[in-house]
């Protein structure tokens, strides 16, 4: 190819692409459980179609964010247009969407599915159907997709394509007789996948002469081009200079550019029906683009907007505080910048007696939380304290009013509360039957209600209803450790239910530490309180006075520990020559105390908070 090396986000110097005839377009998403090889398959498809020269190729080339590459996971869905010359001699335009596998990013999958007519369902032939396989394929079925099953990793000695084929039929109820056996790693049978796409997927429908109707699939901020939006065109065409109206917001923008990813950023003359590509306009922030909105021509608008999709809602909330109070403004700026690219998290200022000023942030799940936190620390050089994640509770007040509670420390006085509701989920767990017993007791322990238990060969599929707050507590870590990593897990939020929920406060030296208060089910309060007190006892260094640590509900102490006084702290020798130096040391020590959070007589070092707040095994 004549153009320069592949740099994500940089324009390729290539003539603008012409429009393809509808019958020669195929749009598909690649969906699978985590790590089953979606991005690797995308690599092979890109390579086979000549989208990138070999020298530009690297593993999971579409995973461009540092954090994606380091963790080996896809976080952001990516669209790529490829040209494929099929066995019938015709050239087809293939629009591929690589999606993330992790449950936190299910929303990315649903948006991608909305832009396509079909899906490649990748199943790791050495692992079989897992929780996200099921969750994602059901989403694809709901989106009326034609689904092509693909059995990946057949190069592995442990691969059992026949067994997995049977499993797909049994568990999902999908005809897998034509499933393509591939190795995305070695490139085995990639052409067969491409042929299946061309022959088995339907071409998109649409009318190039009808008024423009395009779905706003995604938007993000590019440092060169500003706000970019990914669109799928259904009717009409979209081109440079056109005045386009966003139907939900009513905003009108003249289009600066249109184009596609090949995966290089490549300008196109226009995007017609069936096309997936980007447009840029003078849009200030990503927040001005509502994903799921319909784009239409301002002068010749369509009568009927597309159904779109509901915005994602944060389900896990956590406080982020700068370790150094002076970084507060920097944290705010950084959150604003990150939100340009990821509209799925939210934040608002909060303050804590223990941790100072920070932000209460909402996330799609624990991995999402972890990723945002890591990006803030890495890309913006911040040191953060993250408080224990919590879910959104609905507090029904005696007055009849309902309040959404994002932060345990905002809980109103109990006497004014009529009831508290918490979100429940439906969780699907796949687990080898050896580990079934302990997994079932874990679910029961965490207040789960069994819905279904079926066997697929030597694996069990368990469906449970569980309170989400138990899941954000430590469920996932426990699940993984109990099953030695073999269990897979997916969930969907389904309803709010009233629960016997209480706020447990933690008191250090009789003073409540707001950052450590949590809402728990009454039945779990005591063991959690004991565990947290025990943890803090080990984390807070011994001091001059003994320190009581208590967990309490209202005024009632439910667990307590005591940190005994330090046994010795004295300088062995101090003579004439030492006096000045030691006096200065005392002064310095007095200043050093400012870095600690004081609770009455007790200094709690920052590190103790950070440790105590580490999610999971409190």
């Amino acid at each position: 190819m004549p153009d320069g090396p592949y740099v994500p986000g940089k324009f390729a110097r290539r003539p603008a692409l012409p429009m393809t005839d509808l019958s020669h377009i195929r749009n598909f998403s690649i969906i699978a459980h985590i790590d089953h090889g979606k991005s690797t398959l995308a690599d092979r498809l890109i390579q086979y179609c000549g989208g990138l020269a070999d020298r530009d190729m690297k593993e999971q080339v579409l995973d461009t964010m540092d954090i994606e590459r380091e963790r080996g996971i896809t976080i952001k869905a990516q669209a790529v247009r490829l040209n494929y010359i099929a066995d019938d001699g015709e050239t087809y335009e293939l629009n591929l969407m690589d999606t993330p596998g992790h449950v936190d990013f299910a929303y990315e999958v649903s948006r991608s599915l909305a832009a396509c007519e079909g899906s490649l369902l990748v199943v790791d032939a050495s692992q079989g159907v897992e929780a996200q396989t099921l969750a994602n394929v059901y989403q694809a079925i709901d989106a009326n997709h034609e689904i092509i099953p693909v059995l990946n990793k057949v190069d592995l000695p442990a691969a059992e394509p026949d067994r997995v084929r049977a499993q797909i039929e049994e568990v999902i109820g999908l005809d897998a007789s034509d499933a393509v056996e591939i190795s995305a790693k070695t490139g085995l049978n990639i052409k067969e996948v491409l042929e299946a796409l061309v022959t088995r997927l339907p071409a998109p429908k649409g009318d190039p002469d009808a008024p423009l109707k395009a779905l706003l699939v995604d938007s993000w901020y590019d440092s060169y081009l500003g706000v970019m939006t990914l669109v799928r065109v259904y009717d009409g065409t979209i081109k440079k200079g056109q005045r386009v109206r966003m139907m939900q917001t009513g905003a009108v923008h003249p289009i600066d550019r249109v184009g596609v990813f090949t995966p290089k950023l490549t300008e196109a003359k226009e995007l017609g029906p069936g096309a997936i590509g980007f447009v840029t306009a003078a849009i200030k922030t990503v927040a001005d683009c509502r994903v799921g909105d319909t784009l239409t021509d301002d002068r010749k608008p369509t009568a009927q907007a597309l159904v779109g999709f509901k915005p994602s809602v944060p389900v896990v909330f956590s406080g982020l505080f700068p370790v150094d109070a002076a970084d507060y403004e920097h944290l705010r700026d950084s959150l604003n910048k990150l939100r340009l690219n990821d509209a799925s998290f939210s934040f608002e200022a909060e303050s804590s007696a223990a941790l100072g000023f920070g932000f209460r942030c909402g996330f799609l799940g624990l991995l999402h939380l972890e990723i945002i936190q890591e990006r803030l620390e890495r890309e913006f050089d911040l040191d953060l304290i993250t408080t224990a994640p919590s879910v959104v509770y609905r507090v029904k007040m005696n007055s009849g009013e309902t309040k959404e509670l994002h932060n345990p420390s905002d809980m109103p006085d109990v006497v004014r509360i009529a009831s508290i509701e918490e979100p429940w989920i439906t969780a699907t767990i796949f687990v080898p039957d050896d580990y079934l017993g302990p997994i079932l007791s874990l679910c029961t322990d965490r207040r789960g209600e069994q819905v279904e238990l079926t066997y697929v060969g030597s694996r069990a599929m368990v469906v449970y209803r569980l309170p989400l707050n138990e899941v954000v507590f430590d469920f996932y870590d426990r699940l993984k450790s109990i099953s030695r990593g073999y269990a897979s897990f997916d969930y969907q939020i389904d309803e709010y239910r009233e629960g016997d929920l209480v706020r447990m406060s933690l008191l250090v030296n009789a003073e409540p530490v707001d950052a450590l208060s949590m809402i728990v089910h009454a039945s779990q309060a005591e063991p959690r309180g004991r565990a947290l007190c025990g943890r803090l006892k080990d984390l807070i260094p011994r001091q001059l006075f003994k320190i009581p640590i208590q967990a309490a509900i209202g005024g009632k102490v439910i667990a307590r520990e005591t940190i005994s006084a330090m046994r010795k702290d004295v300088t062995a020798k101090c003579y004439g020559g030492d006096i000045s130096r030691k006096r200065k040391l005392l002064d310095k020590q007095k200043k050093g105390k400012k870095k600690m959070r004081q609770f009455g007589r007790v200094d709690i070092p920052q590190s103790a908070f950070i440790e105590a707040l580490k999610m999971g095994d409190a």
């Binding site: 330090m566 010795k568 062995a572 020798k573 020559g577 006096i579």
Partner: protein, 399 residues
């Protein structure tokens, strides 16, 4: 003239040379091939004569030759410095004249000479009574050599003390109490027992940092400390200071000068001084640390002072507390009132005082503020708490 009066002052003479550098030691000590004793003798006397007029008091209670290794001095040097002192102040037989000595045979051979020069007390750096421990501490004497040196010291001086370093790696309470009993059998009226401290900049610091050895933590150290206190009290040498134990009346007069925050004049390289002027203001003095530079400066200027600073009243109060609470006797109410004009009760936040008293860390009587044994064992934290609770000086309360 009383020896406890607040006009008491001490003279400190620093001899900066050692035969080798011990890995735990952060004193101003230097290993030097050759020392021109005549030149050093003249310089020491010179610096003493230059600084003597700055001392306002006449009440000299102690002279202390410290180091380094002052037992490497020629007895004549000690004699000349002492005779210079006698010219300046009245030095009666009640004045304590101590010399720090290393317990090797060479130095023990000089003990008689030191006695004849006027020294009436020695303090020996025995450090351990176990050869492996001595080796670990990098000492160039064996336990039996040290024991012999202590015996010679007893023969020459009526007042003998020696130092031991404990809380060594792996040392248990049982090991240590056994060593202590041995030490008590050998001891005279006074023992200094220091927990091994890893001082920044020493060889031990580097080794310890990279995990070369571990020393007892505060729990184990606490147990060792408690065992030390009990054993020594039972033997009739109770602790009068954190690390110092003596038969009543046999306390080291010189070190009491430091802990009582009295005045002292320091001569020799790196020596510190605290001198109060006629206006009652306290000044801190320090001489140049490097032996060669010190020598040069003294020959040129008559002294080698490199630092001289006024100690503001707040700093002085910190020093009075930091040093005085190390002593069993504590700090007198009179002293505190003299330093601040305030009573103990007004000086500190009363709730903190109540808490410290309640926890059994301090004790306030009609005459003194003092740390209890358990308070002394945690003195750094007690001090920090007191200083944090300090309400003086405050604009609101000061009239």
């Amino acid at each position: 003239m009383s020896t406890t009066g607040d006009d008491a002052f001490g003279l400190y003479v620093h001899w900066p040379f050692c035969l080798s550098k011990c890995p735990y030691c952060d004193f101003n000590s230097h290993v030097s091939g050759s020392v021109d004793h005549g030149q050093w003798r003249r310089a020491m006397v010179q610096e003493l004569e230059t600084m003597a007029p700055w001392v306002c008091s006449q009440n000299l209670v102690s002279i202390f030759f410290g180091g380094g290794t002052p037992s490497l001095m020629e007895p004549d040097t000690v004699a000349e410095i002492l005779s210079a002192a006698r010219q300046l102040w009245s030095v009666g037989p009640e004045v304590e004249i101590t010399l720090e000595a290393n317990p090797t045979s060479v130095e023990a051979g000089r003990f008689r000479g030191f006695r004849d020069a006027g020294v009436n007390r020695v303090s020996l750096g025995v450090q351990a009574l176990d050869d492996d421990a001595l080796k670990f501490l990098g000492r160039d004497h064996s336990a039996s050599e040290a024991i012999a040196a202590v015996e010679i010291a007893h023969a020459c001086f009526s007042r003998v003390s020696f130092d031991l370093i404990y809380a060594r790696p792996g040392q248990t309470v049982t090991d240590w109490t056994r060593e202590l009993r041995q030490a008590l059998a050998l001891a005279g009226e006074h023992l200094s027992l220091y927990q091994l401290t890893i001082e920044p900049g020493t060889a031990f610091h580097a080794i310890h940092q990279r995990g070369g050895f571990a020393i007892p933590d505060n729990d184990e150290g606490g147990a060792l400390y408690e065992a030390t206190g009990e054993t020594l009290a039972r033997a009739g040498l109770p602790a009068y200071e954190i690390s110092n134990h003596a038969r009543p009346g046999a306390e080291c007069r010189h070190n009491l000068v430091y802990w009582r925050a009295q005045d002292y004049l320091g001569i020799g390289p790196g020596a510190h001084g605290r001198l109060t002027n006629t206006a009652g203001q306290c000044r801190a003095l320090r001489t140049h640390r490097a032996p060669a530079t010190w020598l040069e400066r003294v020959e040129r200027d008559g002294h080698a002072i490199t630092e001289e600073a006024a100690i503001v009243p707040e700093e002085r109060l910190t020093e009075v507390l930091m040093m005085g609470l190390r002593l069993r006797e504590g700090v007198s109410r009179d002293r505190l009132r003299r330093e601040t004009g305030w009573t103990v009760e007004a000086l500190f936040d009363p709730t903190m005082l109540t808490d410290l008293i309640g926890a059994g860390y301090i004790d306030i009587t009609d005459t003194v503020l003092r740390a209890t044994p358990s308070g002394r064992q945690r003195l750094n934290a007690v001090l920090a708490a007191l200083l944090e609770a300090l309400q003086w000086p405050s604009d609101a309360a000061a009239e």
